[in-house]
């Protein structure tokens, strides 16, 4: 039991490490590729504005000014999957940090909360839901 927990913690926190590093790098420097993290039924909420799926969301973020994110802290919990509890599953990942948009003078604090799910094809995590707020 303890080993199972450790395994879940390892897989989810390792995935979180990689996701956080990659996601904010992409959103800051390779914005057009950002939609690879999302799927057709991803649920995205950006400061109270909902987007259903990668395509509507990419229309939105293409209008968003260039950004520079600084991650201050993140944490994640493994979540029980519906099928095999012992296989690595989804996770909830919360991030806090600050972001500076290129044509705003001040930096804003943000809180972003993801539910990530593994793509059955290659095990990489995609965004099931994404809740972003300035805080």
């Amino acid at each position: 039991m303890a080993v199972a927990l450790k395994a879940h913690v390892e897989h989810s926190s390792h995935g979180a490490d990689q996701f956080v590093e990659l996601y904010y790098k992409v959103i800051d420097t390779q914005r057009p590729v950002l939609n690879r993290f999302y799927r057709e039924n991803s649920a995205i909420l950006w400061n109270g504005n909902p987007y259903q799926g990668a395509t509507p969301f990419s229309e939105f973020y293409n209008k968003l000014s260039a950004s520079e994110h600084t991650v201050n802290a993140y944490d994640c919990h493994p979540l029980p999957t519906s099928t095999d509890p012992s296989s690595p599953g989804s996770m909830i990942l919360n991030v806090v940090g600050s972001v500076k948009y290129s044509n705003e003078p001040t930096t804003r604090q943000f809180s972003q909360s993801f539910i990530l799910s593994p793509d059955p094809k290659d095990g990489s995590f995609f965004v099931w839901s994404d809740c972003f707020r300035f805080v």
């Binding site: 690879r36 649920a43 400061n47 029980p80 909360s113 990489s124 099931w128």
Partner: protein, 680 residues
């Protein structure tokens, strides 16, 4: 004879310095020609002044000066008066034919650039070209480094280019011979098997078809008879590892497997040259050494080091044994080691389970466009349905009421496998710093804070996440300072919530709350102002199973996951809705305002409200419009997706109540893909 000043540097420990010494300590170099490049005019078998040809000629020594880094006085190479050697060079030079370094008080750096030489006086020698010289150097303290470092060092000191054809370095207790970097010069000092030859013989004896077996080097007869102390051995030179690796790579560059077992190695520093000379190494055994901490491996791990390493053996090292003893399994140990060597496929002869997670992204050129910063206005609280809103508001009120006033009662609110953790995020924006927040007390949060950006070790990461309702309350929540949340002021809270769709075994609601709380703690009264902190808290809640503690207490939901981030107070302006005339903004409702007007819908079904069906859903072939509407209503109440709603109702002959009952009854057996994904 000479009082051995150089013993100061050694003091019983071989520090790799070149020391002058009674019977040994000769450092000879054939100096052939000057201002010539290697392989130039004087090279080769020029006249060699064989003043001191070998070991044991004790009258040839030079008194010790110190050459070393770091604050030592630079003694000159000039001998002290008691220590002048008796030989004279054939031409020129000062009295004793050595190089005058001057006595310096500054610390000496052999790698100083020319022009910043520490010499002050004019050279007292003049060494003309075309002559060979033997230069005696005696040093203590840090050694100069590689033979090529010595080349440049002497060159600088001699103020001219030296062509060093052969170096023999000897020091107390050991002979070290390093080949000069000018290999085209042929003559060796005539002597019996030189050290480098011994090393080569040794390496040859240990090589077999791509496998270099360097285990237990201290017992090796070849090395012993040449008095060479291998790396890891007591009083070994710090260079011996590099010498062996270099020689081995010259002899057998295609070696892919090396064993360094049983060498009493602690840190990898003595053999760190392995990364330089065998960069494509695939298999490495460090079995039965003395590696104790992960840090000991740092000299051979990291970017650009041993990037092809497939197999590593660390069996029989304290690092492994102690980790396993401590946690009763090798999980953390393996996790930590495979993180250091990401290319590993086999550790300790057990396969490494690949956990590399890729996202399949290609690099695309940066496209930067300057657009309006916020293409959409900030909106207030978001709920995907009135049913969700009602459920969430009720949950949050109950939860924070207990969290502020009766934390032990929270135990019934968490699932037996629920997870909870918290993070204290302490960076301050400039604005916050100005407000004098720096002095707030955070001790109670910091200890258990699970910021994965700071906490990197698997064991700590596992320790700081609390699992199960009992552990969560007793080891998590009750250890945190007392709080007071004021949720009735709608402007100070921001809630986003929606149903998670089919991701989890039941329909859950995902909630993200942003707000503030007061810390209630007698020891903080001294500051006279209430300490307020900001927080972000995510919840995943599920319908409370019947007969669970939660439902016995009258709660509709239990908590599956609760993650809290506490930060310095930052107010609530950030989520203040911006006025946007086009959009009908939902009015922010304080959480104690009770059920929303559509509360009646929530009462229709037990547990969590179903998901919103797709209004554009085309009716399935073969069903009537009424049946289609019924299917969509079933979706709303149970969260099934459309095809499964139809299937379910077909199974109960389109009896709606029976359909609802069937779903609730069979919920655990319904597959994941039967559920609707979240829809806003």
């Amino acid at each position: 004879m000479q009082r051995d000043r150089t013993s100061r540097g050694g003091s019983g420990r071989q520090n790799g310095g070149i020391t002058g010494n009674e019977s040994e300590g000769l450092y000879t170099s054939n100096y052939a020609g000057s201002n010539s490049n290697t392989g130039g005019s004087g090279g080769g078998g020029g006249r060699v002044h064989r003043g001191a040809s070998g070991r044991g000629r004790s009258d040839r020594r030079l008194g010790g000066g110190n050459i070393g880094g770091g604050g030592r006085r630079v003694g000159g190479l000039r001998g002290t008066s008691a220590n002048l050697p008796h030989t004279r060079p054939t031409t020129g030079g000062d009295l004793d034919g050595d190089l005058d370094m001057g006595e310096k008080k500054k610390s000496f750096n052999p790698y100083q650039r020319p022009g910043r030489s520490s010499r002050t006086g004019p050279a007292t020698h003049s060494i003309s070209t075309d002559d060979d010289f033997i230069i005696f150097v005696s040093t203590t303290g840090n050694n100069i480094g590689t033979d090529s470092g010595l080349d440049s060092f002497l060159t600088r000191k001699a103020d001219m280019k030296l062509n060093i054809t052969n170096l023999i370095i000897k020091s107390t207790g050991e002979q070290r011979i390093m080949e000069s970097s000018n290999r085209s010069a042929a003559p060796r000092l005539a002597s019996s098997a030189s050290t480098i030859d011994s090393i080569r013989t040794f390496i040859r004896s240990r090589h077999n078809d791509g496998f270099l077996n360097l285990e237990n080097m201290s017992a090796d007869p070849t090395l012993r008879s040449a008095s060479i102390i291998p790396p890891g051995g007591k009083a070994s030179s710090s260079q011996i590892g590099a010498v062996i690796m270099k020689a081995a790579s010259e002899l057998f560059p295609n070696v892919k497997t090396i064993s360094l077992a049983s060498n009493r190695l602690r840190s990898m520093q003595p053999i760190s040259a392995i990364t330089q000379f065998f960069p494509k190494l695939q298999n490495l055994s460090l079995q039965d050494n003395n590696i104790t901490y992960l840090k000991d491996l740092e000299y051979i791990s990291g970017p650009k080091k041993l990037t092809d390493l497939r197999e590593l053996i660390l069996l029989g090292n304290p690092l492994r044994d102690r980790a396993i003893e401590k946690s009763k399994d090798d999980f953390s140990y393996r996790s930590d080691v495979t993180k250091l060597f990401p290319s590993l496929t086999m550790l300790d002869q057990t396969p490494v389970v690949a956990t590399k997670i890729s996202f399949g992204l290609d690099d695309i050129a940066v496209v930067e466009k300057d657009k309006a910063a916020l293409p959409v206005p900030i909106k207030g609280n978001f709920y995907d349905s009135p049913g969700t809103q009602a459920m969430v508001q009720e949950f949050l009120s109950s939860f924070f009421n207990l969290y502020d006033n009766n934390r032990t009662a929270l135990e019934a609110m968490y699932d037996s496998s629920a997870t909870f953790s918290y993070v204290a995020e302490l960076s301050l924006s400039n604005f916050q710093r100005l407000k004098g927040l720096k002095g707030d007390r955070w001790d109670n949060y910091v200890k258990g804070s699970r910021s994965l950006s700071r906490v990197k070790e698997l064991d700590e990461r596992t320790k700081r996440i609390h699992v199960g309702n009992t552990a969560i309350v007793n080891q998590g929540i009750l250890t945190l300072p007392q709080t007071k949340h004021h949720l009735d002021d709608a402007s100070k809270v921001c809630v986003d919530a929606w149903q998670t769709g089919g991701l989890l075994p039941a329909i859950c609601i995902y909630i993200m709350v942003h707000g503030e709380f007061e810390e209630v703690n007698s020891s903080q009264h001294a500051s006279r102002r209430p300490i307020v902190k900001s927080f972000d808290r995510s919840f995943i809640i599920a319908p409370a199973p019947p007969n669970s503690q939660a439902s016995l207490h009258g709660w509709k939901c239990i908590i599956i996951s609760d993650q809290l981030i506490v930060r310095h107070y930052n107010g609530s302006k950030a989520w203040e809705p911006e006025s946007d005339p086009s959009a009908p903004t939902p009015v922010a409702v304080g959480l104690s305002a009770g059920i929303a007007p559509n509360g009646a819908a929530a009462a229709a079904a037990p547990g969590v409200q179903g998901v919103q069906p797709d209004p554009l859903q085309t009716p399935m072939a073969g069903i009537t419009p009424d049946q289609h509407a019924m299917a969509q209503e079933l979706q709303r109440q149970t969260g099934l997706n459309y095809p499964y709603a139809v299937q379910c109702l077909s199974a109960v002959a389109w009896d709606f109540a029976a359909g609802v009952a069937l779903v609730n009854q069979e919920r655990a057996n319904i597959p994941a893909d039967a559920w609707q994904p979240p829809r806003f």
